[in-house]
Point group: D2
Chain length 455, copies 4
């Protein structure tokens, strides 16, 4: 209907998303998958002696988007207002006399549901690669910074030291968990049906179950075990929930970059093209984390897309149509955006500028106070009650003088020094032992992730 | 990027939505509004003596999408990766030497936020018309069927009689409430800003407040009273919530049609083109409520679109960008779909086939049991304790014999007849008095709605 | 704070939910689990030679809610405003001199996160039983009604025949899929941590990894592979998503009962205590599906509870606290309600009244029109183009005369009879073949479900 | 059922929420409101001559929770499983012979819906006070810090200067907008019904409309103009959306505090009891913004509670019950938590520690670079093309030397100095003019807010 791009309204049609993923959802790709299902049906019916072999061959040959075009199908649909009927009529036209066997015994939903499963086949492959690639980038970054000391921050406050590599290893582990989840849900998602108007297969007669199994096998799918007119909608809702979960991780990772890139921290910066990119139209000096902000923003939308599929599960009787229109929008948008998020994150982390010296400066800011924990543990092990030790250190670290003076005060306080000599106080407040522990644990985590990511 | 329609992936770009509403969100329309804001700024600056009058006139003349084209702006944006900067550069080019005054003192967000408000101006007008038109169709239908008797159904069970007109009057009243809500939120939504990078107006110097007020007045907007870099996001979230509320009403109305059109009820049917439209590819006899199902489906999506704007309200400091990308998708999609829902509902109700004789049949099905309430009230008023009356009638209406025999049993039961003679039992079980009450109340409701809808 | 029940405001504290499940979330149960973690920590530290064995034994002995009471812990918390600190102090008090080793080297989150995992251990067991029990009830019901003929309904319209048993088998299959999902996510959910303030284990020194593994093994948990201060929040969000998915199934099943129990259908009715239960305070004859309506209602709430955990995933740096308060509400409410939904559904389906004769009446209503599909297939196989066959039957089934006359018209129409003799028309329109197919498929589905549910 | 507090599971029953607000939702308060509606009904019926005056007086006298106790009502409900019927029976018992007029002509929903409106009356008053109080605290804080200079931050990056007072004025303006929204929705929310089983009033006979109006007037409510069995659910959904909007503001304000309290910024700190409160069980030196984090957390839950009411709007026919159970949980939880959020925020801002010297330090950090905008504007006004000026300053501010050297470079660059003498460069980069503008605008905003908040 619309052909000049200036009139398009959906940013997925001109702004966001990678072309190969968007192409999976083009009307042509959708038509192609529906035709593939019709062809598989005719071929299996020929194999079972229901349809003449030559007619099945003619249907198979016609079942391409060059012979059955998007334009012709849309033309028919405008008069019938029924999309699958339009496809079957167009395919029947293209197949000539064999056309009367097109869609034989099938209901529209047999075609659309199975074609949908073929779409998910392609989608799952893309997302699996996305997750793998992102995980590998994170693993590499974590390994590189296994012992790059950084202050750990909880509640927005400086805490005990960690390493940047350990932080990133935690991100990688989360991405790898999503990979496992995807593997687990895939067999539930890649199911079709060739079972007629209410799922019993009655319209296909005695051959029903064999026919359905053969059609699915030909398409590398499995049949839904007990469909109604539709495949169970819990399968799609589970998948949409999965995308929401991945999006929430994307929001977490992008938020971490945005926080670490704050002017006051400046510990990392996302890749930036200094020669050309404009940060602000008025504040020319700024380096804004716009890719990460974009990821945060789109992630919120992907999460919202999880709601309609859950409501769609509540089909009336053998089906209503109340899932259909929103699925046409939700599925492509949620998938294209999730791929987009993962791709952008991969680029952000692959090109991330990490400023280890800033990290060291921040770690020094609290002058040992971050290591308070360590002091407390030794005080406790040498006989002070835990509550007293905590109270003592809380008192020492309190007040206008700032936290930097904790070490000094501790070395001078007899309640400390009767248990720990002043020079041991210094050693205990040195963050290096904590950094070593973090590096060792990073190695341990990465070894496990390497095993998980091995092809 | 994409130019042939077969490759589009968003149904709003080829399947759903009315063209005049979709056009509000085309890239050309968006560019046009941004240019209108830049022109208004330059004009007011000329009025205030900041910019030479001739230069402002030159900018104003150049600020059209024929002189500043979508293509040129996109070309610049590909190198700068900053959309407003691309517009200002393209406008400056088109304005010649006057171009150096383009965007003078403004920050990008002054333009985008104010242009957004102009977009909402157009959107509010469309939605107000949609709600008015739908309300009028419902009022007319309610008036026509003010005394068309129908059984009231609660918990899916037949209850006491009502009229179809009264039911529809309730729908109309709900739509009119949305109209009131829209009027109330409009002044909060139609606000822009011309207040610089953090909203204080400092970059515009002494004239700041006068300048902002004049620019907004020229565009028929009001200024946000205390913006940061952005206009307060509560305004957009409130609007998205409003759309969700309207969508939920659309789901209610469409669900009512779907329920009344069930084979077993067949009290109404949505308009259907008998000559051409195909109900089912296998079950040729079916008349499916596909428009109403479509409305139900899309309404779920509009509700989901209310979530990201609420999360976008949590801007960090003077702004982050985490609202931006999802707003680009949420706003056009939610608006185009809401207009679509309201338009489709108007068509459904304007052409609704109402089968009054089926309604009468259903009312008779329970043979007076629906009027049990009436009998109970009279038993109570004549001295039976309410609990006893209820218990008595519950017992009479119970059991395998079906509810149709209640009247017969009541006429024969001495616990009833000692208070109410058998022929009065019949009169009390006649639903006509209830229908008259419903018709009278319908008239009362419609009179109030007529007043509210008067131009 | 509140002790008389009239002042309680949460229906979970006085109205909804089963006692054994509610008890899992009582403050006493929560305290008990935290104490179990502290005891496990001390015991493992004794095993590793960090803590004296006698002291660990003293801690272990004190770590019960009889010695460390809810009241004492709350008393301490009122002054410290820190819940875990209150527990450790109370435990230290109860353990006497050994108390100084309580919580040694641990951070609060080590305790709370691990205790949370213990809670999930109990929860998973309950939900697994719930799903299994409901699935078995559905399997039994499906088997009983494997060949109880019922009209299939799509778009709310009568379609081709199915059996009630096949419908219920589809429900059972969906419930069994949830059981599989629960099994898959369980190892991701049952993870704790004993790894200090930022997850590196540094506070525990060289033993850190061994210690964590031993503590988790003692509690039948696994350690998070790379925690920050918290266990990865994707685990909780995944679980909340799972509950939402189960709730959506609960809404589907309860909605099906509500629809089939409509006065006009009356094909099923949920169990009802005829002697005592009141259907309506004014309409004494009504039998409302109130349990199913209750399930529908609560299911919507369980779905909503899936949102905060997704947002909680976006922790700042090594943690913020923004997950904590809502988790305290979301987790118990979502779990107690999900158990409640599943329990109520089990009761509804275990006691469901199925009216097979009503189902037969409904099937007859459209007088063969439901079998139109069958006629069309044979017309096609005997040479009529599919489009023509569909068009012919659409025309025959159209118009005021109602669908009941289709068979009659078909027997009289030469376009039909030149291909199919009138008596074969009758045979083709007999639904019994379709019912047999549905029964056979039901058997096939149930056999698979039996295998899946075998202990 | 449960009476010792250790067994409670909902934190609203022992941890969160203010007692006076929680008390609005106690079972006793709910019962009291239902009794008030029954009493108003009987009184008006006496006025209209339907019920004997003495009997109405007896009912009115009995309609208290001391004579009709929660315990007695629950006892009856356990056998009838119908809550309103239990109340009417208990009231009838207490009213003696007059009891047979209790609930005369009414349906259960007349009572529950109207009682719900009475509940909202109290709730609206509480929330209005909460919003007013918070707004006043923010206005005072803004006034105090009208010229406390602070760096404006966009994208997490330092931008041009603003004042802390202006930032807080923006918060106050947002809160005042919520107050306006509440005023607008209140008349839509405070509606009841006394209109019988399907809303037509038929059961009340000729007096129906008068009776309903009088009952509502007596309770200071208005009647729903066209109810079904229920008041239109759009009213509740609108209110739940409003709470979600308020919660999102609460999340914004609390997030701002959390961000400004980060160790690296330390510009503000929420009130903290230094003597007693424990920040971290291991890191004794920490000052965590736990109240603000708590607000962020609970706000997410309040937002989630907006979803079920939107779904509840889709009632089947004259009502289903699918709204009921979740409303019992959603309304009290969402209201108690919203009040809690607003109360906590008021305390945070009333006691906020603002460190103006830290703000000044941060402003100085970028050494004038924040004022780049100003320099660019003057360069443009003196003849440099805007694009060139932007490019020039971007280049000057770039590179390893940091932003602090911008002023120095600008003073030395002939492209700058041919238009602006070096000392004027210094003046232009002085942030004081920007601070003055922010202070003036703050005054303007506060004056308007003072007017809005005047009693």
């Amino acid at each position: 209907m619309t052909s000049d791009t200036g009139s398009l309204i959906c940013p997925l049609d001109f702004r966001y998303g990678r072309a190969p993923v968007r192409d999976l959802f083009s009307r042509e790709a959708r038509l192609g998958r529906a035709l593939a299902v019709e062809a598989a049906l005719a071929s299996v019916q020929a194999e079972l002696g229901i349809v003449p072999k030559d007619d099945a061959a003619a249907i198979d040959a016609a079942a391409t988007t060059t012979r059955v075009t998007v334009e012709r199908v849309e033309e028919i649909e405008r008069s019938t207002r029924h999309d699958v009927m339009a496809i079957t009529r167009a395919l029947a036209e293209a197949a000539g006399p064999a056309g009367r066997w097109v869609h034989y015994g099938a209901t529209s939903a047999d075609i659309t549901e199975t074609a949908q499963a073929l779409e998910f086949q392609a989608v799952v492959a893309v997302l699996r690669d996305d997750l793998t690639d992102l995980a590998r980038v994170l693993v590499d970054l974590a390994r590189k910074h296994r012992s790059t000391a950084e202050v750990g921050r909880t509640h927005g406050q400086h805490g005990v030291p960690t390493t940047f590599g350990y932080k990133v290893a935690g991100m990688a582990a989360e991405v790898v968990r999503h990979r496992t989840r995807l593997s687990e849900l895939t067999p539930r998602l890649l199911v079709g049906k060739m079972a007629g108007a209410v799922g019993t297969g009655a319209g296909f007669g005695l051959h029903a179950r064999t026919l359905e199994e053969k059609v699915m096998a030909r398409l590398h799918l499995r049949p839904d075990e007990a469909p109604s007119q539709l495949v169970g909608r819990d399968r799609l809702a589970e998948f949409a929930n999965f995308l929401a979960l991945v999006a929430a991780t994307a929001e977490r990772l992008s938020t971490e970059v945005r926080n670490l890139q704050r002017t006051e921290l400046s510990e990392v910066a996302e890749p930036f093209d200094e020669e050309r990119q404009v940060g602000s139209s008025t504040m020319a000096q700024k380096r804004n984390p716009i890719v990460s902000e974009n990821v945060t923003s789109l992630a919120r939308l992907v999460r919202a897309f999880a709601l309609p599929p859950l409501e769609n599960m509540v089909q009336w009787h053998e089906r209503d149509l109340a899932n259909s229109a929103n699925e046409r929008i939700v599925i492509p948008h949620a998938v294209v955006l999730t791929d987009d998020l993962l791709t952008k994150l991969r680029e952000v982390f692959a090109g991330l500028r990490v400023d280890a010296s800033r990290m060291t400066e921040e770690l020094a800011r609290t002058g040992g106070a971050a290591m308070t924990e360590n002091l407390m543990l030794v005080l406790t092990s040498r006989g002070l009650a835990r509550g007293e030790a905590h109270e003592l250190l809380r008192t020492l670290s309190r007040g206008g003088g700032g936290e930097a003076v904790l070490a000094e005060r501790a070395r001078a306080d007899p309640r400390v020094t009767r248990l720990i000599p002043p020079d041991e106080v210094d050693a205990l407040l040195d963050p290096r032992s904590y950094v070593a522990a973090a590096a060792a644990k990073t190695d341990h985590v990465l070894a496990a992730l390497d095993r998980a990511l091995r092809p």
